[in-house]
């Protein structure tokens, strides 16, 4: 229909821009960690230069099932990250979630479910606050102190706990010596039953690659 409205430019780059239609949405009162302002935008919330949020409560969706389709169509592909934030506020949610999942996948929205206004507000805040944050926190950790690395490694074996890690380290010294220790030596330590010893030894000496033929060929 009409020509696209000029893009809204927020006064301050660190604020969330809220669509005036959201006025009265109870989640707004929970947005406390990040400032917000109202502005004429297509989505409900603009949480970054390239990301936006469309909010939907399942209760509302049941009353007006066509609403979300029109909103999604209007936004089209105009943001890099388009979040469909769904508030699960009914008990029989399965059908609605199924439908919304289908909608989100076909129109390339990222579906996020939340269960309270507080949680919904938290997601909106976090999207804005982390707009430029590098994803280091969810990447493989690179640096850590010795004990946590040792614990991380040894506790991969089932039933080995932190006390056991300290016992092993204090008895044998280095990781290499722990690996080289015999089952009998480990079995003498307090807290090490037969199962645990067996699992440890197996983890140290079991080949990485299962297929024996491949191993032979590789060694040859």
């Amino acid at each position: 229909d009409a020509a696209p409205a000029p893009p809204f430019v927020p006064r301050n780059r660190s604020t969330i821009v809220v669509n005036p239609s959201q006025r009265g949405n109870p989640l707004l009162q929970h947005i406390r960690n990040v400032p917000y302002e109202f502005g004429q935008i297509e989505p409900d919330y603009m949480v970054g230069l390239t990301s936006c949020v469309v909010f939907l409560s399942i209760r509302y969706h049941r009353l007006h099932p066509e609403y979300i389709y029109s909103r999604i169509a209007a936004i089209g592909k105009s943001f890099v990250l388009r979040v469909l934030l769904v508030l699960v506020d009914v008990d029989t949610h399965q059908q609605a979630i199924r439908e919304l999942t289908r909608v989100a996948v076909t129109s390339e929205f990222t579906l996020i479910c939340c269960w309270s206004n507080e949680e919904a507000a938290r997601y909106i805040e976090t999207y804005k606050a982390y707009e430029n944050k590098p994803p280091d926190a969810i990447r493989e950790r690179v640096d850590n102190d010795y004990l946590s690395k040792l614990s991380d490694c040894l506790t991969q074996v089932r039933s080995v706990n932190k006390t056991d890690v300290v016992t092993l380290s204090s008895t044998f010294g280095s990781f290499q010596s722990i690996v080289e220790a015999s089952a009998d030596e480990i079995g003498l330590l307090p807290g090490f039953g037969e199962q645990k010893v067996k699992r440890l030894i197996e983890a140290f000496h079991q080949p990485f690659v299962v297929d024996p033929h491949k191993r032979k060929r590789r060694r040859a």
């Binding site: 990250l81 579906l111 690395k149 280095s174 037969e194």
Partner: protein
């Protein structure tokens, strides 16, 4: 080829002739498919092995599922020689590839096989399922609706309605707990009959009690300090339970019947953990810590009677050390029970059993001990009981030699450690000056002192020197200023003795530990040579004569003593082999009592005397009695359940489900209710072979999808050439978000598929919510799961997220996603993400792989490379720096890995630098 029929319809039970009841049990099960539940120790394994023996032939193909490799070995041992030698009882592991497995299936026999491989082979038609003679299901109590065994059974029953199915279990408690567990399991097994054989079955009790053995029960009181420790541990457990009750009002667990008695049971902390697991992400750190503390405390209770005083104290100190405050861990939580009064009591009493602090005391027997340390070395009371029993037996053997000239004495203990220790105990001679246990305890004390002296540096190196310096600030850093025998802390010296820990305020618990370690370290450093010699001497002495392992020698002595740990069903064989005249049950064990009864019933003429020793009024005794009671109650309940059970009607149900769902799928597309024709293609889904452990493939299959299992590198489920799904349960989601694995997986998925999907799957029985309103904290924190999800979606805007409230909801959503998409191509899915050098078929062992990935210098980029070039963690640890440089390319990574592997925490790294 096998005929698909057993050789004889009524297999004979000749090899079970030794014991009348077993023949009865066997015949009943052979006649009709059923679930057999037997009391422990009555010989479930011999019944299973009888079935294996019958079908160990090329004419039949019988599959044995749900056994561990240990159980397979044990079953093999029960077979007679010919059957053991025959190639018709085989274990199938992942080391065989598909064509080798097909060949084995063609040859027939009894095949023990892991469910995951079996599933893959049934689904990929490697196994001719319709020709299978029968299925033997071991450990039937572990089968749940979502286990892969249930999937195996369903596939088997839908494709083969003629073959037999026998299920076995000796764990009645598992079926008695919960709501109609027996009925549910029967449905999963497609069985209509359950055979119950409790110990109190009339036939069993009559035949066993006809030849009862001569039993002497010895009730040994614990020492005063042991009693005190036991009481204190129970206090701690009680405190923990109260704390859990208080802090878990918000979480949905059944905390009402948390009692101390319950808490003593083996599986209690596991039970709590299982209840909490689906909501583990919403459980507070404190509760998590409390649950794991309960496990520790339960262990302590058991160790109190099974460990000697030195090892017990050592374990306690390891707990304290691992709970020390450390700078490096933000996630680290302290165990609250450590700071309670009963805990002080535990520590001080446990130490007082080992040694007392006494100023200027020098041990007359052992000058190598640090001065001021007076060894007490309290022996386990059962040791002297054992010693007395041995003397009595010796006398008896002397006066009344066995007619057959052989008097084997079998001593049965709980575990291998006790077993070794008793061997040492019995090996040392009784002298007038000291009892048998003293030299043994002295050696252990020396080991403890060595450990303790190393602890000084270990603590610095492990916990970070910063903290240690901070805590022990007045003591100086390296311990050089310490003069031996003079503890630097005046207060401690004044109070002295056993009250060291008890008197220390909870905050000074750690410094005391530290200072003591330093004092010992400096003493032992200055006396290193004497000390080593003293311990060396003992070790040599001990090696000299070991009269305890000659039973495999050529000439058997007339009296031989064998110490063995309990091994469940294998004990029956042990009794048959050894044919002991005297049995000493050092630790109580209900199942072994049965084994002895059965053995006695099989050899009514044999003279057997059983000594049964138990600590009076101990947790040990209580556990024994309540285990018996629980088993009896469970069987009573099962008998009742059996009479009112609604019987499932065979395999028809599942076929109906399959047809219905197919019809439903079809009529949405064909208007006017078009007829089901063969041209309609069944929708396919490629599933990663590792996912076969979860319940989703099973339900996908039930809903009419064709599940194609294979090894895929990227994603878990491939729905179409474009759509790839990574499935995460809530606990997986949390752990993989923080470990960084999910990031890597998302990276790979988005690189290879146009629609990559993260499926967040909730547990069906638990509420569908990631966080509740009360759990949302006032500020944004990076540790919140929501924050991490935000980061993930910001990093991967094309990653779609599915929130599924249950497995069934997932199946529906998969149906939607697959609509208007092409069928996936297995070969293409396998090839994605696999670099050229790596074969498609190869599979990696998960635990070593996970360990490797935790090592410094190993990244998601290079770990596959490392696994191809290095055999195992052990091989990696042996490599030198040059080798690592060659392996990792990046020199910095190689160095940090080398440093990690070889850093010795016992050395003073601070000083060296």
């Amino acid at each position: 080829l096998y005929s698909g029929r057993p050789m004889s319809q009524t297999p004979d039970a000749a090899h079970l002739s030794d014991y009348i009841n077993r023949r009865e049990i066997f015949a009943e099960l052979a006649a009709e498919d059923a679930l057999l539940i037997m009391a422990r120790g009555l010989g479930l394994r011999s019944i299973m092995s009888a079935f294996i023996q019958i079908y160990c032939q090329a004419q039949s193909l019988v599959l044995l599922v749900n056994t561990s490799s240990d159980e397979e070995t044990a079953l093999r041992d029960t077979l007679p020689f010919e059957a053991r030698q025959s190639s018709h009882f085989k274990s199938i592991t992942s080391e065989l590839n598909a064509s080798e497995r097909a060949e084995i299936y063609r040859c027939g026999g009894v095949l023990a096989i892991t469910s995951r491989i079996l599933l893959a082979d049934i689904l990929n038609d490697v196994l001719p399922t319709h020709l299978v003679t029968g299925l033997l299901v071991a450990n039937a109590h572990r089968i749940t609706a979502t286990s892969s065994e249930a999937f195996v059974i369903r596939l088997y029953r839908t494709r083969n309605s003629d073959g037999f199915l026998k299920a076995f279990s000796d764990n009645p408690e598992a079926f008695a707990g919960g709501f109609s567990t027996l009925e549910k399991t029967m449905k999963l097994l497609y069985l209509r009959k359950v055979n119950l054989w409790p110990r109190f079955h009339v036939m069993v009790s009559e035949s066993l009690e006809a030849h009862a053995a001569d039993v002497i029960e010895i009730r040994q009181p614990m020492t005063k300090s042991m009693k005190a420790i036991q009481a204190a541990i129970i206090d701690c457990i009680d405190a923990c339970l109260q704390e859990i009750r208080r802090s878990s009002s918000a979480i949905e667990i059944d905390v009402e019947d948390f009692t101390v008695e319950q808490a003593m049971f083996k599986s209690f902390d596991v039970t709590i953990r299982r209840q909490l697991d689906p909501i583990w992400h919403r459980v507070s750190h404190k509760t998590k810590q409390l649950v794991s503390d309960l496990g520790t405390l339960r262990k302590l209770l058991a160790y109190l009677v099974s460990y000697d005083c030195v090892t017990f104290n050592n374990f306690l100190e390891a707990i304290v050390a691992s709970n020390a405050p450390s700078s490096g861990h933000s996630f680290h939580q302290h165990s609250p029970w450590l700071f309670t009064d009963p805990a002080d009591k535990i520590f001080s009493t446990a130490r007082a059993r080992v040694f007392l602090k006494q100023a200027d005391y020098v041990d007359p027997d052992d000058p190598s001990l640090p001065p001021g340390m007076r060894p007490i070395l309290e022996e386990q009371p059962k040791w002297s009981v054992l010693s007395d029993i041995m003397d009595e037996i010796e006398m008896e053997c002397y006066h009344e030699p066995h007619p057959e000239g052989q008097d084997a004495i079998l001593i049965m203990v709980e575990d291998q450690r006790t077993c070794n220790q008793l061997k040492m105990y019995l090996a040392s001679n009784k002298s007038s000056s000291s009892s048998r246990g003293k030299p043994l305890l002295r050696e252990l004390l020396h080991g403890y002192l060595r450990w303790k002296s190393d602890m000084k540096h270990v603590r610095q190196n492990l916990m970070g020197s910063k903290t240690t310096n901070h805590v022990t600030a007045p003591v100086s850093q390296g311990g050089q200023s310490l003069t031996r025998g003079q503890p630097p802390n005046k207060r401690r010296r004044v109070r002295g003795g056993a009250t060291v820990v008890a008197s220390a305020a909870s905050t000074s618990l750690k410094p005391a530990f530290d200072q003591e370690a330093e004092a010992m370290a400096s003493f032992i450093e200055s006396h290193r040579e004497d000390f080593m010699q003293a311990t060396g001497d003992f070790a040599e002495k001990e090696d000299d004569d070991d009269p305890l392992s000659p039973h495999f020698g050529l000439i058997e002595p007339s009296t031989l003593v064998i110490v063995r740990p309990y091994h469940g069903e294998e004990d029956a064989q042990l009794l048959d082999h050894i044919k002991p005249r005297f049995i000493i049950m050092y630790d109580p064990n209900p199942s072994f009592v049965r084994s002895v009864e059965v053995y006695k019933a099989c050899h009514p003429g044999k003279q057997i005397r059983v000594y049964f020793t138990v600590y009076d009024n101990s947790v040990e005794e209580q556990l024994y009695l309540s285990a018996l009671r629980r088993e009896k109650d469970s069987f009573s309940k099962l008998i009742r359940d059996k009479s009112i059970m609604v019987l499932p009607i065979g395999d028809i149900q599942s076929k109906q489900v399959r047809d219905q769902s197919l019809l439903r799928n079809i009529h949405t597309r064909i208007a006017g209710g078009g007829k089901l024709t063969n041209e309609v293609k069944v929708p396919q889904i490629v599933v990663d072979i590792r996912e076969l452990r979860s319940s989703l493939p099973s339900i996908l299959d039930a809903q009419g999808f064709t599940v194609i299992p294979c090894t895929i590198t990227v994603g878990d489920y491939v729905l179409s050439p474009n759509v790839c799904v990574e499935r995460k349960s809530i606990s997986d989601l949390i752990s993989s978000l923080s470990s960084g694995r999910l990031y890597t997986q998302a990276e790979a998925m988005t690189a290879h598929y146009s629609q990559s999907v993260l499926l967040i799957e909730f547990d069906e029985d638990k509420s569908f919510a990631l966080q509740t309103a009360s759990e949302v904290r006032p500020d944004i924190s990076i540790t919140d799961i929501s924050s991490k999800l935000v980061l993930l979606t910001l990093a991967f805007p094309t990653l779609r997220v599915i929130w599924s409230s249950s497995v069934h909801a997932t199946v529906e959503i998969f149906e939607d996603l697959k609509r208007s998409e092409d069928e996936p191509d297995m070969v293409a899915a396998q090839a994605i993400g696999v670099d050229q050098q790596q074969g498609i078929d190869s599979d990696f062992n998960l635990v070593p792989q996970d360990m490797l990935r935790c090592l410094p210098g190993i990244t998601s980029k290079n770990y596959r490379q490392v696994m191809r070039k290095v055999g195992s963690i052990g091989e990696l640890a042996e490599m030198d720096l040059e080798g690592l440089r060659g392996l990792l390319v990046d020199a910095g990574a190689a160095e940090s890995l080398y440093e990690f592997l070889h850093r010795d925490t016992r050395l003073d790294l601070v000083k060296r630098k």
